[in-house]
């Protein structure tokens, strides 16, 4: 007994009704909380996207001409004919980068999940690609420069420096470094959910490592692997700095750079927005597929 009467004062009663509104919230309040995000997304993503879709059906910069826009589908037929190589090289680079990441990423993710104790160190070093493709491309360009650090190695392999610098393999290499963490993240998450005893059981039953990999690990991590591959592909189709700094004239035709050239430099808005729409379409298909494959959606 303390004799302190203040602590004996009755608490304000809190009926369940009041409690629910205090935590749950009503329609208008919910809307108010969501409004800034919705305005940002509508005003700066969805409206601009609708805008470029409209513009992609007009000729050149006629969208702004005082006589009214000239409606045409010529931009799209141009992409299907004259600019088809641009689209194809974009897809080719993305596919190759995805394959490289897949081949090197699966063992990496496996070792990372099963064997590594010093994960924080690995994570800290893995952030370097996250700083951006620009620095990777810049660094690789310096490495591959004739007379640069890689010259003795290339000579030993019998490759001309100039052939190595502006070439498809160096672009793909830089792209796969940039996207590697996404692949490892997805496969690693899937592998983390596979019970290690399953591998031990397979080994006990006489399966060789290759058989365990082929018949236990691959089927059980399929969702994560597919999601990883699609994520990497989705990021790779927007590649910009790597083809520009490391590619030959062929790789430099990649769509993202052409969009900039045609749109901002040459002000051919119709064609450049049409290319943007094509790029967007590919990205959306890939994203839709990857979301279908990745399990455990955040909001249920």
């Amino acid at each position: 007994m303390t004799g302190d009467t203040r602590s004996m004062a009755p608490l304000r009663p809190a009926p369940f009704e009041a409690l629910r509104t205090a935590v749950g919230g009503g329609g208008l309040r919910t809307l108010a909380l969501l409004l800034p995000a919705i305005v940002l997304a509508l005003g700066f993503l969805y409206y601009p996207l609708v805008f470029i879709v409209q513009m992609s059906f007009t000729e050149g910069s006629s969208y702004l001409s005082p006589t009214g826009p000239i409606t045409t589908t010529a931009n799209y037929s141009l992409i299907a004919s004259r600019y088809l190589p641009n689209l194809l090289i974009t897809l080719e680079l993305a596919v190759l980068a995805t394959i490289v990441d897949l081949i090197f990423g699966f063992p990496f993710a496996y070792i990372f999940v099963r064997k590594i104790r010093y994960r924080t160190t690995v994570r800290a070093l893995m952030v370097f690609p996250m700083f951006g493709a620009l620095y990777i491309a810049f660094g690789m360009r310096f490495i591959l420069l004739p007379g640069g650090p890689a010259t003795p190695l290339l000579q030993a392999l019998g490759i001309q420096s100039t052939d190595a610098l502006f070439s498809l393999p160096s672009v793909v290499f830089a792209m796969s470094i940039f996207t590697f963490p996404f692949m490892v993240l997805n496969i690693g998450t899937a592998l983390g959910n596979v019970d290690p005893t399953l591998e031990e059981a397979a080994a006990c039953l006489g399966a060789r490592p290759w058989q365990t990999f082929r018949r236990i690990l691959v089927p059980l991590t399929r969702a994560g692997t597919v999601a990883g591959a699609l994520t990497v592909f989705g990021w790779s189709i927007g590649t910009f700095a790597e083809p520009l700094l490391l590619g030959s004239a062929n790789e430099q035709r990649a769509l993202a750079w052409t969009v900039y050239q045609r749109g901002v430099v040459q002000t051919d808005y119709g064609l450049s927005t049409a290319m943007g729409v094509v790029l967007l379409g590919v990205a959306f298909v890939v994203t839709y597929l990857s979301l279908r494959y990745s399990r455990g959606a955040l909001v249920e």
Binding site: L11, A14, L19, A22, V23, G24, G25, A32, L33, P36, I38, L40, A41, F44, Y47, P48, L49, F51, I52, Y63, F108, I111, F112, I116, R119, T120, A124, L125, M126, V127, F128, M130, F131, G132, L134, Y135, F138, G139, M140, F142, I143, L145, P149, I177, F180, P181, L185, G188, F240, A241, L255, V259, Y260, G263, V264, S272, L279, L280, A283, V299
Partner: protein, 279 residues
């Protein structure tokens, strides 16, 4: 004379190199080989940044040159990143709270619609924004156009960790707080916010790293006279070729970003970045 191990029937020592040990060594070697490849472009730039410019004596002067000539660009980068982070917090905190705690129809759809900017290629965001800024919003000369573009591209990276943190936070704390007579705002400020702090910080870190190093959307929408540091790197390579001073700027940018990451790991540990882009 028998050794103790033989006396107790323990078999002789196993051979030093077993198949298992060999696989282990190879596994670690593989991880480190890949990590070295990751760091290689950075190390190459560090080496390059310490080579002397033609007509200059000291190599360290490259970094002095960075502060002198590119100081403006670095300041712009920090300023744009800072403003973007403020907007991202103001947009994502309420939205994340409503998405997790409130019930309303179409919640999944809304969350997907809000995270979609992450999946749109940068060049598409760039061309669509530069055209709408020019012809509809008339936002071409203000830095806010760039800030809002950065915000649009990165606020989902902030929203996701906040949603994860809120889902992990049992609702009882808020109910208890409400029972004890706290107002909604008091509960939010003194209970919810401190408890989801690490999640918010994870979002801050991710957004900072992305915005601080962004050059692609910036190339499209930057107002005349405003060049951020990564865009300056891009322009320098395009126009002036490879120069040690440009490498020094790129190294400076990456070191600042790395410092931010390491600081976060030190303060909060890596686990709060789960489900986001840094594992």
């Amino acid at each position: 004379m028998t050794t103790p191990s033989e006396a107790f029937g323990v078999p002789a020592r196993r051979p030093l190199i077993t198949a298992r040990r060999l696989t282990d060594v190879l596994s670690h070697a593989y991880i480190w080989a890949i990590l070295i490849v990751f760091v290689l472009p950075f190390l190459a730039l560090v080496g390059f940044s310490f080579t002397a410019r033609p007509g200059e004596a000291g190599a360290v002067t490259n970094y002095g040159y960075v502060l002198e000539t590119f100081g403006d660009n670095l300041l712009w980068s920090l300023k744009i990143a800072g403003l973007t982070l403020v907007i991202n917090v103001l947009v994502s905190l309420p939205a994340g709270y409503a998405i997790v705690r409130h019930t309303f129809p179409g919640k999944r759809f809304l969350f997907s619609a809000l995270t979609l900017p992450l999946y749109v290629p940068g060049a598409v965001i760039g061309i669509s924004l530069v055209l709408t800024y020019n012809f509809t919003y008339h936002l071409t000369t203000s830095m806010w156009g760039l800030v809002l573009a950065m915000s649009l591209g990165t606020f989902p990276l902030m929203l996701t960790p906040i949603v994860v943190a809120l889902k992990d936070l049992p609702v009882i704390f808020e109910e208890a707080s409400a029972c004890l007579g706290a107002t909604r705002w008091q509960t939010y400020r003194r209970i919810v916010l401190p408890l989801i702090g690490p999640g918010v910080s994870a979002g801050l870190l991710l957004c900072f790293i992305i915005v601080f190093n962004e050059y692609l959307v910036t190339l499209f929408v930057h107002p005349p006279g405003l060049t951020t540091a990564p865009l300056r790197v891009f322009n320098q390579i395009r126009t002036a070729g490879l120069a040690p001073t440009t490498a020094a700027l790129a190294v400076t940018m990456q070191l600042i970003s790395l410092a931010a990451v390491l600081l976060f790991f030190r303060l909060f540990g890596a686990r709060h970045l789960k489900g986001t882009y840094l594992l």
